[in-house]
């Protein structure tokens, strides 16, 4: 017997803050994280790409994105919503969110749910920037981002998170976006890195500002509390549980990476702990509200070890130039996390919230198969879809800057600005 849902002030308070925190993850957090990793002459182009993604997707989400991803009526059953809520038509300030997680009775405003989801739609294409950094035309980047949002992000979000989505109906577990955000963006990053080609250089470029990168990683960690714990859509024990698993996985992953760094390379590095923490956060994202502390420790450690090898060994062997390891961290980390959710999901977590989600470790082998299926769907859709978009953009505008522009740098050539003055 479910009570009539009403507005919950506390849940609303937490989710408003969480929305702001997820926005913070794109700019300044991701911008600083990526910006510090590129060469001085390209830092503004990376910052610009992150910032304009926030602006562009924010507008497109309100106009049509939210409706296509989450409306209860559909253009393509199980795959795509319709334009019912375009421009938030029909959603008033006191409409309650039709979506909830742990608290069916205490809802947040519908507008707030839409804006919370908006910030997820913002950061997902922004992650891909790491793959094509330092060589993509600004005009091509804009076209790519718009197309990718509607052709890949929105359908995957609908399939996994909308109550009508076919993967949701199958029972996929993705608490805050392991598949929808990280696998999706990570695989798109791989496709883009392969399509756009390697940067022209004799050797790897050192990051121009490592403090930026570490500060960015710390800001991502901070914002991730909103990303994961906010996805409970309530200020309750489930949010707290997600908070705990998030922090724990990040911490363990950073430590494991530092350990592996010192064993393999002789020193624990700043770039290593920054990357390790992000990897752990990525991996815990689908699992945050489903696993217990043991699961979080395991997921953080496993993801860190796997991504370490991916980024330091496999990438070099295979020879693709995923400039800032968007695939190596987000793609692989997301896949590891999504599959681990199917292993470590502990039914005790949801006992007080009316759910029953368990993984392989608790006797449910079916969950892992569902997770695998969802990952496959996301991988295939993202890989092929991204390649198609890039091909079309390349035929019309051209995706990569020419060699001379790439040598001079994108800041001066694409934006006629310099990041840092030298004399004054």
């Amino acid at each position: 017997m479910t009570a009539t849902p009403i507005l919950s002030g506390s849940n609303t308070a937490w989710v408003i803050m969480a929305t702001a925190m997820v926005m913070f993850m794109t700019v300044p957090a991701l911008a600083l994280f990526y910006g510090g990793l590129v060469r001085k002459k390209n830092v503004l182009s990376v910052l610009m790409q992150c910032f304009i993604t926030l602006a562009l997707v924010s507008v497109l989400w309100v106009v049509a994105g939210y409706s296509l991803a989450f409306s209860d009526s559909e253009l393509i059953p199980g795959v795509l919503g319709d334009f019912k809520w375009a421009l938030f038509n029909g959603i008033t300030p006191n409409s309650l969110s039709p979506y909830y997680i742990s608290d069916a009775a205490g809802r947040i405003p519908h507008i707030l749910y839409a804006m919370f989801q908006c910030m997820f739609a913002v950061i997902t294409p922004a992650l891909i920037i790491g793959a094509f950094a330092e060589r993509m035309k600004f005009s091509a980047f804009l076209a790519f981002t718009v197309a990718w949002l509607f052709l890949i992000y929105v359908p995957v979000a609908h399939m996994v998170w909308s109550t009508n989505g076919w993967l949701c109906k199958l029972g996929v577990l993705d608490f805050a976006g392991g598949t929808v955000v990280h696998v999706n963006a990570g695989v798109a990053a791989l496709a883009t890195a392969l399509f756009i080609g390697k940067r022209k250089s004799l050797k790897a470029f050192p990051p121009h500002n490592l403090p930026f990168t570490l500060i960015g990683a710390a800001m991502l960690w901070f914002g991730w509390f909103g990303f994961n714990a906010g996805s409970a859509l309530a200020a309750d024990g489930l949010a707290a549980s997600a908070f705990m698993t998030t922090n724990t996985a990040a911490a363990v992953a950073a430590l494991v990476w530092a350990l592996m760094d010192s064993l393999v390379n002789g020193k624990a590095t700043i770039l290593g702990v920054a990357t390790g923490a992000v990897v752990g956060l990525v991996a815990i994202t689908p699992a945050a509200g489903f696993v217990n502390v043991g699961g979080a420790l395991a997921i953080g450690a496993i993801a860190s070890a796997v991504c370490f090898v991916m980024v330091t060994v496999v990438k070099k062997k295979l020879g693709y130039d995923d400039a800032l390891d968007a695939f190596g961290c987000h793609g692989i980390g997301g896949l590891v996390g999504a599959l681990c959710t199917g292993i470590f999901a502990d039914p005790a977590i949801w006992k007080g919230f009316g759910g029953n989600y368990s993984g392989l470790l608790y006797g449910n082998s079916r969950q892992l198969l569902i997770q695998l299926l969802a990952c496959l769907v996301s991988v295939v859709l993202s890989f092929l879809g991204t390649l198609i978009i890039l091909k079309v953009v390349d035929l019309t505008i051209g995706v990569r800057v020419d060699a001379k522009v790439e040598a001079i740098g994108l800041d001066i050539t694409q934006h006629e600005e310099r990041a840092y003055t030298v004399i004054e």
Binding site: K41, S201, L202, K404, E416, E417, V422, I423
Partner: protein, 113 residues
Amino acid sequence: MKMIVAIIQPYKLEEVKEALYAANINLITVSEVLGHGRQGGVAEIYRGNKETGNLLRKIRLEIAVNEDFVEKAIEAIQGSARTGEVGDGKIFIYDLAEVVRIRTGERGNEAIG
């Protein structure tokens, strides 16, 4: 003994270094400078204020060489730094009066190598 000062494009530094090492010239000093020659500078724009002719970032190499290495150094630098476009840079050759190795006190040709 000569002092070779070369102004080159920043993104050419790695190639030039490789070429110098291959010619057995290993001791160099590198600094970041601003300047322009015929290239004329680049445009920058801030809130509607567009300025052209700004100084560009360049790399300055300083290499002390014995007489018999001068042409080898010039070939190595010019061969690797050249793109054929305006802005490739310049090489200046100065007479070098004396060189001292601080650690040992060696002077002259022995201190250069």
